[in-house]
Every structure is written in structure tokens, then in C-alpha cells.
Symmetry: C2
Amino acid sequence: MKNRVITISREFGSGGRTIGRRVAEKLGIPCYDSELIQQVAEKSGFSENYIKDAGEYAPGGFLASALSHRASGPNNADYLWKIQYNIITELAEEGPCVIVGRCADYILRDKADCLKVFIHADLAFRVERIVKEYGEREESPEQRLRDKDKRRAAYHRFYTNMKWGHAQNYDLTLNSGTLGIDKCVEIIEGLY
Amino acid sequence: MKNRVITISREFGSGGRTIGRRVAEKLGIPCYDSELIQQVAEKSGFSENYIKDAGEYAPGGFLASALSHRASGPNNADYLWKIQYNIITELAEEGPCVIVGRCADYILRDKADCLKVFIHADLAFRVERIVKEYGEREESPEQRLRDKDKRRAAYHRFYTNMKWGHAQNYDLTLNSGTLGIDKCVEIIEGLY
């Protein structure tokens, strides 16, 4: 397999973004993560914060979308999805890169030279990481993790109809908690 | 992580058994697969074929078990499960080894020094492999694969209440179709 593009989906706090950056650095190729959000912001006219949030909520919530948005045609989230879709497709065509999150695994699903990775870890490992990385908040770290996971899974499901975290959707999935971040970087690098 | 035991769950035809054997060979440790079935047969008095089949059917089927077996206490499958549980626990205590299938991932879930692997591949890859390995049959290879997958998932679910093939249940999952059998062997060996 020629892996020109590596997509990394990840549970919040699992270190997926760190792993993506380190793999890209080692391979000397670009890593798109927040850069992607910036590009979507530029092309859409929305703020970066809005786009960041939109990437973690299934549009409108179930009731709202059943009752209004979907019936009245595409909404903001659909518009952003389209822009994101185009940007990711273009980036993948431009050259080798690592893309973190934003459903890139689905968007590039028919590209044979794409290595699809999912990173996860158990709650305890992620709790420790997010408190260290992002500091304390009012809600408990466990609650923050559960909320984030739920939103990401719902967003992914809404636009891709694929089960998030289901092994069959990926070339490999890694538990960063038991294997360690370094080992994950090494395995992905070795597959490129 | 000290990986004294490697458990390999796999989709039928994905090459999981071959991968397990080759990893064990490279590491110079035993691989239990059909040997396990033999041991269960010896301890239970049932035939090897009966045990092989029992490992792929959730006991009794839904209706049968709802109506009779479960209500009237443990059945043959539960009895076999108990024997299998004990054998796997003992093997894992004896020393380093690879164990293929038989819900070993679940049985050893609380052992910290156990590397839990899931191997899968897309239908086309597995169809080609099973026709080559096991020859043609009356049903189409696609049908055989779907049946086997369904049975293994149901059996696993029945005894473990875990979702089969869900990334979060494993340390790593590998797509043998896209990565290749050799690469899978190499990654697992490298983690030991």
C-alpha cells in the first residue's frame, strides 16, 4: 500500500493529535488539524470557533433537525461540511500529508493510498491527559470526555453513516493508553 | 507493557490464525488454536467437532434459549464455556503464548500483560483467501463469510457482552487486507 495520506480519527484526550503531528514531523510531511479549521473559516466567512464547535455537533440536534433544518433544506452545518469536504479532497490531491479529525477518513474512503487510523484510550488515561493539556474546568474531566466522545461520534455518524470506532472502518486502530504514544507514532511511521 | 500473552480475535478468512501462528513462531512461544479445542474436548468428553461448532453459535439460538435452556439452568454450551474459561486462564498463567479466538480477549481482560489484537479484512480479500484455504462449497463464499461472522459475533456477545470488532476492546486492530499478513505479523511481533 502506498500511503500518501494518513487520516487520524481519535477519541478526545487519547493523544491522536499529538501522534499525528509527530508522525508528520518524522516523515517530513504537513499535518492538518487546526490549519484545516482556519482554511474552512477563510472560505466560509464563519469564525474559527464556530467551525470548531460545528465539527463536534451533529447539525441541529435530533429534534431540531427533524422538525426544521432538514425540512427547510441545507443549513450552516451542511454548508460547512461541503467546504470541508472540498478542502480535504484538495489537500489529499496536493501531496502526502497527515489529516487529523474532520471525518477525513470518510471523505477519503475511496482513495487506495490512504492509511486510516483510529486512536483511543481508556477513560483514566484520557482524564489524566486532558487535565494536563487543557487544565481543570467546572465539569469533571470524565464528564467532558463523555460529552466530547458523544458529540464526535454523533457528528461522524450524521455525515458518514459509519460507526465511529468500529475496527472495520480503519486500517488500524491503536490504544494509546496501553501501547504508549511513542509506540503508536513508530507503528504508523513504519507503515508509511 | 509486558505482553506475556497475545490474544487474537479475527474475522473468518482474515488470516488471523495464520498471523497468530507466525507471530508465535517468530517469538518462539506456543500458539493455541485447535490445540485449545482438543483440550476442551478431552476435559469435557464432547467431540472436537461439537466444540468447534459450539464456539460459533450463541447457545441454543435466541428462541430456544429464551424458551428452554436458560430457564432450566446451564446447558452444554455453558458447561463448555466454563471448561474453556479455565483452560485459557491456566494457559495464560503457565507462560507466554498466543491464543487465537475462543473469547480469550475477554477471559483475560484483566491481565495487564495481555496484548489484545483483532484482525479483519474486507469481503473481497477474505473471499479469495477462504476459497484458496478451504476450497469451494455449495454456498457462495460471501454467504459463508457472512454466516461465520454473524455466529462469532453472536457467540462473543452472548458470553462477554462486548461488541466484537469494536476498537475500544483491543490494544490494536489491523486490516490484514490493506496492510498485508506480513506487516501484521511484524507489528504484533514488534509490540511484544
